[in-house]
């Protein structure tokens, strides 16, 4: 992906828009896993598009805030701008019940934080976790569902057991990118079944 000193092409903008749309949509949807019931309303009045283009607009106004030597523009927009916008709304007055793991890192938006999102949220997530969700039972259920499908088993183990990322899982378990992506799709399907079984609201 390009850096701030070169003109971003239309093709690159198309990729940015699509990836930010997916990231934001999924990020917003995941709240059901952490906040349990009664969370049907979310960030009222705002569409996914609003977050995406607010993030892009902030970059266009202040491109110097993105340091391409540290992270790509998409990673910067995802983890430093959109996440911050979403968490701001989560802790706003109309979402007072929304104290959750998206919110804690707000004050660090402009810091040089290259740590992956998951690594950075874990120490803080405990405080905000919805106690009503029996995560151990859900994890046991998923573990039993992935049994017999070695690829999915390894991905599940890699992510949940060892905190590995895509490239690390592929290397550790000698997996091709296609095998990983297909396995991840199957894991997401299983996760969907778990959400249904445990009545996780989206």
């Amino acid at each position: 992906m390009t850096n701030q000193n070169t003109e971003i092409t239309n093709a690159e903008w198309e990729e940015i828009i699509l990836r930010l749309q997916s990231y934001t949509r999924k990020l917003v949807k995941e709240k059901g896993w952490f906040r349990g019931d009664g969370t049907a309303t979310f960030l009222s009045g705002k569409e996914i598009d609003d977050y995406v283009f607010e993030a892009i607009g902030r970059h266009l106004k202040n491109p110097e805030k993105h340091d391409p030597s540290k992270r790509s523009l998409i990673e910067y927009l995802k983890k430093h701008v959109i996440r911050s916008l979403v968490s701001n709304d989560l802790v706003s007055a109309e979402n007072k019940t929304a104290s959750n793991l998206f919110a804690y890192e707000n004050e660090n938006e402009d810091e040089d934080d290259s740590a992956p999102f998951l690594d950075s949220i874990l120490p803080h997530a405990e405080v905000f976790f919805d106690q009503e969700i029996d995560f151990k039972e859900i994890m046991c259920y998923i573990e039993s569902e992935v049994k017999g499908d070695t690829i999915v088993e390894n991905i599940f183990l890699g992510i949940s057991g060892y905190g590995l990322k895509r490239a690390e899982i592929m290397e550790e378990f000698n997996m091709t990118p296609v095998e990983f992506d297909n396995g991840m799709r199957r894991l997401i399907t299983i996760r969907g079944k778990a959400a249904k079984k445990y009545d996780i609201k989206k």
Partner: protein, 137 residues
Amino acid sequence: MSNNSKYSKADFIRFVMSTVEHVSSDKEKAKEFLSAEGLDVDSIISDGMKRLKRLKMQIEAEKTKAEMLSAEEAKQKASEWVDDLLSKIDFSLPELVREEELTMSFRNIEKLSQDDIKKILVKHFTLKFLEEQAKRQ
């Protein structure tokens, strides 16, 4: 709550959040996810590019407005600065020309009216203040 599980809350969170990264890790996965959500990917792109164009124009207009405002402020400051300079008893134009490295024909200095001098100096200091402002930014 099941107590015999080897998984912690952190493991659970890590697992749940892993899909956020997965669906946005490249263009194809993003397209796949958005299509699975029942969304029209082509429309997202075309609407998005239109919105981007509007956004760029809006930001450009804001920048132009801010620059014009900034130039006005610099001119006002320069005007006050020059008034102050000219009101000093010991003011010497040739000395100022040397200090400020002004490009001016010394042969014509004596022929300049007070208004001409003021106009030249206001222009010079306006540019100087704008340059200083740009350096600070």
